[in-house]
């Protein structure tokens, strides 16, 4: 693999850019690997990358039924933040946010991390109290956030209508080092780094069964034949329940569709990310100038990667009230992803009833922001059997009643 650099660009400019190689290899699967990761999305690839980088485990295959980063990694609104209320959440999301800061240098791949600031609007008194509490909690957790008043909000986002008729802006929780990144580049960057370490990324290879002997995982059946492994990691988001079913256990997870949309590109008008959780919409402007808009999930189980049109209408209607100028925008594209939602809106990262089989799922509507932290913690868990980042997120927390309740903590839009 060639290193990407200014020098490389100059060199290629002199030979008509004929020297760029493929960013990652597409090898035939071997008969056996030390570790198999199911799912080549951001989380799966990050897990593989940190297994190699932090623990020297490079005999790894990442299996993907479709194409690399074609699931939720390519279907989100690319927001990165760590202003969560509960300690375990703040720890893993802040770890992820911190890793994003230097990810382009680590991977030698420009993931276009843009720490432009994330603002969560408080539009009811209840939200003001909630976010003030979160700001205090974040101060104790070492996550830099602050509660700002409406004047500061208007100064940071001139296009906002702070005295809306129904939901005036009373303040906001502001995380100055939150932001966005190029979602595809995160998956591609990790894939390139993994491939460079000799790992196999096998696309168009759907897992059809999990093979076990005496309560231990021994391999998987795939559409490209059986592959053995010592350890198995399931990182398949919306299909977590489906894959867990192959291994013979059920999850406290339901899969629902989450939609997003972008407008036609316009001149730069908003250089922060704004989330309005009361009216339930969030918006940022992409580098191309499109307004990227997301909302809540559809209210029923769904595996179709599309949702109801009326849901888009609700999201946009809510945002038009807060941003009157977007009323005249035409919408360009809409898409949906299948998110795996748990009862407490926190992820599940831990061992499973099947020995040597680990699961990382349940990120629900907030997976993209956590990719590096999730990979870091899950790799440590798979390599060493435990990780301080992930130990609170085990599957057993539902059985034991130790929830990490972000659903009522208002730290999360869902």
């Amino acid at each position: 693999m060639k290193r990407y650099s200014a020098f490389a660009i100059a060199r290629e400019a002199f030979r008509n850019h004929m020297g760029w190689g493929r960013a990652w290899a597409s090898p035939e699967p071997r008969k056996k690997y030390d570790v198999i990761i199911i799912g080549a999305g951001g989380h799966g690839l990050a897990t593989a990358y940190y297994l190699g980088r932090n623990f020297g485990i490079t005999n790894v295959a990442v299996l993907e039924k479709g194409w690399l980063g074609g699931g939720n990694t390519g279907r989100n609104t690319t927001i990165i933040r760590s202003n969560y209320l509960q300690d375990p959440s703040a720890a893993i999301y802040e770890k992820a946010r911190g890793l994003y800061e230097t990810l382009s240098q680590d991977l030698n791949y420009n993931v276009m991390f843009s720490p432009r600031g994330v603002m969560m609007l408080a539009q009811t008194q209840h939200e003001v109290r909630g976010y003030e509490r979160t700001a205090h909690a974040n101060a104790l957790q070492g996550v830099k956030t602050e509660f700002i008043g409406p004047d500061k909000v208007k100064q940071l986002v001139p296009i906002i209508n702070i005295d809306g008729p129904r939901y005036p802006v009373l303040g906001a929780l502001w995380q100055a080092r939150g932001g966005t990144a190029r979602h595809d580049a995160v998956a591609w960057g990790y894939a390139r780094a993994c491939s460079n370490m000799g790992m196999h990324i096998i696309q168009k290879c759907e897992v059809t069964g999990v093979r076990q002997e005496a309560g231990k995982v021994v391999g998987v059946d795939t559409t490209r034949g059986a592959i053995d492994c010592d350890k198995l990691g399931m990182v398949v988001a919306g299909h977590a329940g489906h894959v867990a079913g192959m291994a013979g256990f059920r999850l406290p997870v339901e899969s629902v569709a989450l939609q997003a949309l972008v407008s036609e590109p316009i001149k730069p008008c908003m250089d922060v990310v704004v989330m309005a959780n009361t009216v339930h919409g969030y918006m940022s402007q992409s580098d191309k100038g499109e307004m990227v808009i997301g909302g809540g999930t559809d209210g029923y189980n769904n595996y179709t990667q599309r949702g109801g049109f009326h849901h888009i209408e609700e999201t946009v209607r809510a945002l038009v009230e807060t941003f009157p100028m977007i009323a005249r925008l035409k919408m360009l594209r809409q898409w949906g992803g299948i998110v795996d939602v748990t009862g407490d809106r926190s992820p599940i990262i831990g061992p499973t009833p099947l020995e040597n089989c680990f699961i990382n799922c349940g990120w629900g509507t907030g997976g993209f922001k956590s990719i590096p932290g999730s990979g870091w913690g899950f790799a440590e868990l798979m390599a060493k059997g435990h990780s301080p980042l992930t130990e609170a997120f085990g599957l057993n927390r539902f059985y034991e009643g130790r929830f990490i309740d972000e659903s009522v903590a208002a730290g999360v839009a869902h």
Partner: protein, 109 residues
């Protein structure tokens, strides 16, 4: 957009007229039950890729709860039926097997 027919009042409407209420036919456990039973009842869900039975409420209509059989892969609705039952009536099961040969009620448990 889903089109549902309320089996209580007989009105057919778009999904905005209704509200989804999650998995149907859950076996409820009360005081005196074990941790495993509570865990199953409160948290584990079938979440199938395919035929799903779920509760719906006719919010902007008669206000009654009812059950629907729906495919989570195609969003096709096989039928709706009254909620006062422990398992889907035979005509719903027949409608599903006609379109999904080999499907069996509770094959997952």
């Amino acid at each position: 957009m889903l089109i549902l027919t309320c089996p209580v009042c007989g009105v057919t409407g778009e999904e905005t007229e209704f509200h989804g209420g999650g998995e149907a036919h859950l076996k409820r456990f009360g005081p005196g039950s074990g941790d495993t039973e509570f865990h199953g009842y409160l948290f584990t869900r079938e979440n199938p890729k395919g035929v799903h039975f779920e509760r719906w409420r006719h919010n902007n209509g008669c206000g009654k709860w009812f059950h629907a059989a729906r495919c989570t892969m195609t969003l096709e609705i096989f039928g709706t039926y009254l909620a006062q039952t422990y398992e889907p009536p035979q005509h719903i099961k027949d409608a599903i097997t006609a379109k999904r040969p080999g499907w069996k009620w509770r094959e997952f448990s």
